[in-house]
Subunit: 383 residues, 2 copies
Amino acid sequence: MHQEQRERAEEFLKSKGIERGLFSSPATVRWLTGFAPPIQLGPSVFEGGPALVWYDGGHWTLMVLDSYVPAAGAFGDEPNCQVVSYLGYTIEQSLASTEHLSSLLLHTVAQSQIKSGKLGIEVQSLPVNLWNVLTVDVPHTVERVAIDGWCEPLRMVKTAEELQKLRDNFALTDIGHAAARRAVHIGAREIDVWTAIHSAIEQAAGQRVPMGNDCIVGHRPANIGGSPGDLKIEPNDSVIVDLSTLLHGYWSDSCATYYANELTSKQIEMHRTAEIALQVGMNMIRPGVVAREIDQKLRDLIREAGYPVYPHHSGHGVGVTGHEAPRIVPYSTEVLQAGMVIMLEPGIYFPGETGVRLEDALLVTSDGAEILTHHDKSLPAYE
Amino acid sequence: MHQEQRERAEEFLKSKGIERGLFSSPATVRWLTGFAPPIQLGPSVFEGGPALVWYDGGHWTLMVLDSYVPAAGAFGDEPNCQVVSYLGYTIEQSLASTEHLSSLLLHTVAQSQIKSGKLGIEVQSLPVNLWNVLTVDVPHTVERVAIDGWCEPLRMVKTAEELQKLRDNFALTDIGHAAARRAVHIGAREIDVWTAIHSAIEQAAGQRVPMGNDCIVGHRPANIGGSPGDLKIEPNDSVIVDLSTLLHGYWSDSCATYYANELTSKQIEMHRTAEIALQVGMNMIRPGVVAREIDQKLRDLIREAGYPVYPHHSGHGVGVTGHEAPRIVPYSTEVLQAGMVIMLEPGIYFPGETGVRLEDALLVTSDGAEILTHHDKSLPAYE
């Protein structure tokens, strides 16, 4: 599980002369280990801090809250990997999980008996009290190196294992979009469409599935994105449904636009333009193309069709986060490589009136792209 | 908004000789300001760190990601309060929100021109890089004092404003339980019951509502709690439904037990015993009673009825976290005070066979308790 990720990280650290590392970013921890605790309720009040990964010359140690051991368990079966845990909640004594995590980190680091060399640390997600632990057993002769963000470029090309997780996930958004298409009708509220989608996805998965992002009617003043509310779908409304799901610790994404009734001629033109933009973008996807060239092409196309150019990105990567490199934005000189998974999502918006956005996921292949999303984004036929 | 909370915090800090403070715990920030960003998808990848509150001699500054300003806005209208923000995501330049938050903190602290005195800091949720900012503009003559956990006792007694938020919230769990009672039948899966509940709650609220906790059939090997799965409700199954919702930044809680069909005589006895235990606990709630006395009484009652004593707490407080002081546990010497809101939740479990848990929320009043939950926990009548 995630062995290829650890090999990439190890190779990169070695190339920088770093023999040991402490990882604290949830995204990095998930990418290195596959450990994916529940997120829907925010961090557990029983956690003493973030889950941590300690790397020491080929050995990996994942430190988690005791109640997360079942979720982390599989990692401990990997070669050169172990899971260690600290006491969280008990009815026997006052909550002291912060102290317990500190002790566990101290114990883990002490075993490495560091005398010299470089220690890489993700500091931007490491709380001060855990940083202080490192001063106890790591002499000042050891050089601390901040390694925040170092793993993000390594995460861009997906492994076969990650691709399977993503495929399972995109199958869920396909199901969600089918439910959305059925649920959109005049008089239904945004939240009614949303609950129909979320129920369909969770019932298909047979478990809870965290879900984002947007479910909004065209007549909203800010109609690009937003959480569903109690606004009713009115005649001639568009409904943008942008869905991401979290399964196996990986995020999907997807978007389609549905309509209250027969489309106006303006909406038909807008929808067709978005379809063309998405298709043109897909056709550009292959190894070697520069991210900003795709972005520029899509914006030009929308502008030349006579529409205001969307203010958001043209796309982005997905993985252990829902939004990551490579970003398809005006400034990005990132070069696409086989194995990247990229969202493309051109849109056209007339605030308070109507809008359209269509989005697919593309796997960059050796000579083009494979579409990973299979939801119906076509113009509906109204009788 | 939340002025009484800030007055309590201010008074407490002053009593400790502390004139300035930096708060970084999400629970404290929410309690002091009412700022409650969405949580269902985990922390935003565009955030540069946690939302922060800077306190300087009667003035309060909330530091948030730019896209959270609408959610934080009302706080800025309060006397002696302001909201400041930093750049998050833009399509114009690379993501640098960590640096932007650091700069904002540096700028905010610099304005205070600290020369001496004590500076209180919540360090356990403060990332190292933000701690380092404080070394730039705060001379070493200023004494740093760790104030983690200091606000939790101040949070126990709820303000009138908080009580209203909690009442709105408990009304949602009542709706969820009504949906659960309708959805439980032989052949339905745990996840089917769950989606029926969540849909009913979100449709009633007209917006997304984060929801926990348990929805599990009695024939599960571990049948005390857990996330809903694809297990089907079988004949003679019990179904424990424990619901918490997050509304206005506050958590509710509640539990009831439903049944697949006519109860066995064992289940009837268990259910009645849980009802009695809950009632006995409620009758004990009043100012002056010690938390562990309630806990002991409920455990004794279950034991004396001939059942195994539940391994979990007898109850706990709720507020900006779903589980907080006062905890109704064997070790707690906490004394109840008017204005506290306490959950009581006795249960009886036979793993892999059947279980029951009933839970209500109680507001401690001047001479007893007011029940805040109004869901039907009674034995169902089967024809």
